[in-house]
Symmetry: C2
Subunit: 508 residues, 2 copies
Amino acid sequence: MITGKNYIGNKLSAKGSVTHHTINPKLNIETPTPFFEATIDEVNEAVDLAWGVFKEYRKVSGTRRAEFLNAIADEILALDQELIDAYTTESGLPEGRAIGERGRTVFQLRSFADLVAKEDWRENTIDEAIPDRQPLPKEDLRRTLIPLGPVVVFAASNFPLAFSTAGGDTASALAAGCPVIVKAHAMHSGTAELVASAIIKAAEKTGMPNGVFSNLMGRGRTVGTALVEHPKVKAVGFTGSIAGGRALFDLASQREEPIPVFAEMGSINPVVITSKAISNRSAEIAKTYAGSITLGTGQFCTNPGLILTVEGPKTQEFVNDLAEKTVAIEAQCMLHPNIKKGFVENGASVTSQAGVEVVGTIQGELDANYAASLIATVSGADFLANPKTSQEVFGPFSLVVRCKDEAELLEVINNLEGQLTGTIIAEEEEYGNLHDLVDALENRVGRIIFNGVPTGVEVCPAMQHGGPYPASTDSRFGAVGANSIKRWVRPISYQSFPKELLPEALRK
Amino acid sequence: MITGKNYIGNKLSAKGSVTHHTINPKLNIETPTPFFEATIDEVNEAVDLAWGVFKEYRKVSGTRRAEFLNAIADEILALDQELIDAYTTESGLPEGRAIGERGRTVFQLRSFADLVAKEDWRENTIDEAIPDRQPLPKEDLRRTLIPLGPVVVFAASNFPLAFSTAGGDTASALAAGCPVIVKAHAMHSGTAELVASAIIKAAEKTGMPNGVFSNLMGRGRTVGTALVEHPKVKAVGFTGSIAGGRALFDLASQREEPIPVFAEMGSINPVVITSKAISNRSAEIAKTYAGSITLGTGQFCTNPGLILTVEGPKTQEFVNDLAEKTVAIEAQCMLHPNIKKGFVENGASVTSQAGVEVVGTIQGELDANYAASLIATVSGADFLANPKTSQEVFGPFSLVVRCKDEAELLEVINNLEGQLTGTIIAEEEEYGNLHDLVDALENRVGRIIFNGVPTGVEVCPAMQHGGPYPASTDSRFGAVGANSIKRWVRPISYQSFPKELLPEALRK
């Protein structure tokens, strides 16, 4: 049941008087439950509780943390249709997506359970003593990874489950041994509370200390700011806009004790399509990309917002075909009114720049929060001349940049900001000529895809989901897969230690 | 030969008119060569050159980078007595230390050569495709680590070789595939130029691109600020004071594109000595610690500046003995007049705080830059009540904090800022009672030493040299050993890539 209250550890709490409602974007109406924004007292209570139990939780064995994570997965599944309904109501996303994303969330939790049930992930290293080494004896040194402390997770608007309350950031931080305080996304407060209740149930069932998890509601920046500035918070995870992520990064960097902020932010995900590929399979590529651009109403951080090609005989035909196929896909609902507003405004901004032409967009009246997919085009020269053309338009939008030659296309890539992904669509006989292109993309992105689409982020060890700024605030880490646990830990060395005082895995 | 000029890549350059001299601290006189501070033009030239060759250098094979690093080691050794003389003249440190530190520097270079000659360090990961997976096929994903770009290294005053021009930061960054620009320490400019000449010779001999390394001189903050703010610089390494490191961190965080700063800064390195250990072997511990406190004139980041003990029957005797033995060690020269000034001022500040008593210090007139070793003591209550008592006194100083009981001692630890190291001196029969102490130290430090001294940082895979802020700006990384290469790289994934376009190590 959705109460509208915060979880301060295992306790429901609503001390404040400021409330907000979530919105059903399909109907464009508020949902009935008022959600109570956490007060500063409640923020402090949650952080103090997390700090207090950190000492205990960080010593909980990997096996028991795995039980906890698996129990969270079980409890999420047990929420059943109530969760799916809250998700679809608050996000406007379809039931199939809700079920799929729940599957991903559960898979992530179970993957981290598997990871921490064993000790391999800690990079445990033992350098034995060499007492007779000359000129000085070598001491015994043993190194492992230990958790940083309480972690604050900001839930994403575009993944109400997989990158929110019990999403990748929470799962990896809990797996690492860090208590977690989630700042719920204000537009998914009901979904957030349900998932939080699952985490709390799982914590109680598996005997985790009260305070290992809290869930705080809030609409503006007050709760988030108080959390990031709290001296007992030791790291932050965030998925969202560049403005939001940068604001948190700045707060965290200016603290007396700066703390890391892992913000996964904006990306327009350049896709290079060679003119030969267009000549050979224009229709197939247009169809695939129309699907990728509109997938999830274009509300993925890996959405292909920029298509780069060298002008060739079939470019115009391809652009027209892409626009036609994109527009032919039925308009879908966006996550909430602000996302719709941003989509319209940013789309209008990009398409009003010199040289940018709209090739196709859905015409006519749409329901309030539905998005009119939009394909535009611009020359390489106009794109290079004007940074406003590379602004992210979050939603079903892509800008096709038609470069005069390969050199101009490389210049476009070299001038892009950091990106999560880059994609190359090319024919086999061209592979030998693509080294410069791969080189250029390597310098700008965190993942390069060949003859595919950037949407769809596999959860596996070889995945990197992150990239140079502003794709991420720290390109050395990623937000998906086993490696993402490394964000919440630091190395420690034990020198000449008695076995009984070493962490168990180092007692060899 | 020392020319006083900057190296902009392979070229000696002295476009500016601002010069400075280094100081022979033993004689307290300036050395003869004027060193030309790099102009902003020269800074830009060095960074542009580094950025230009990054594209080439990052593709140089590990085997060839290993040749380069080994050649640097060879060329440093070939400098022979000229280098040792410059080192001892500019640092006031004895010849034995110079030779030892040169050995460490050469060892570090050769260790990184060994590391990158193989590919293991890149964490190469291959997740093969599963084309028939349901509901969606799994794409082939391959992950490796690639270099960030040009790195700026600020040389340390207290390690003119091992943490300076060709020290650990430079060696690890060059090993990773990043061009390096060193900002030489103004007080070791001659040593810096000699080592820079060795790097340049090695680069030329092994065919590395011109610009892979530059060495810039400068006294104030102008050169360093221009380097850190330059958009083509992608990471910074620093060893030095909290004020200096934090200033660089702030500059780097406030850039349009923030970049990581790995600053290894202040630490007072708490040493807990149980009263039983004092009862059993007071004289031995006092002797060992008198040596550790005065080693290198106390100018190590791991110097034991804080000794914590629970008051016992022999505490007073131990403190007196420690002071006596410390003061009995002949006064030594400090690195330069500013270090001496800081030692005197900070020592006076700490010893003037309420409840702090000087137990022993070298009496009488000393030559200008020689340090009068100093042992002081304070009660746990007075220490806890006043943050000024925990100020770092860089030099041969230690403050013994006498706690009334175990609880107060733990409170002292819990209230300390982050530290590089913590040490426990205890008797075997006490081990079972030390879990809380180890716990408390784990939360505050990067390395815990048992029945030893914190000075002496072994270069090996299990070493962690770094700690929670302000010991380091990023506790997740360290400045010593193989893992320190991870500071300069980021992960990248290749999805469904043709073999011929993959980095060689991923073509399996």
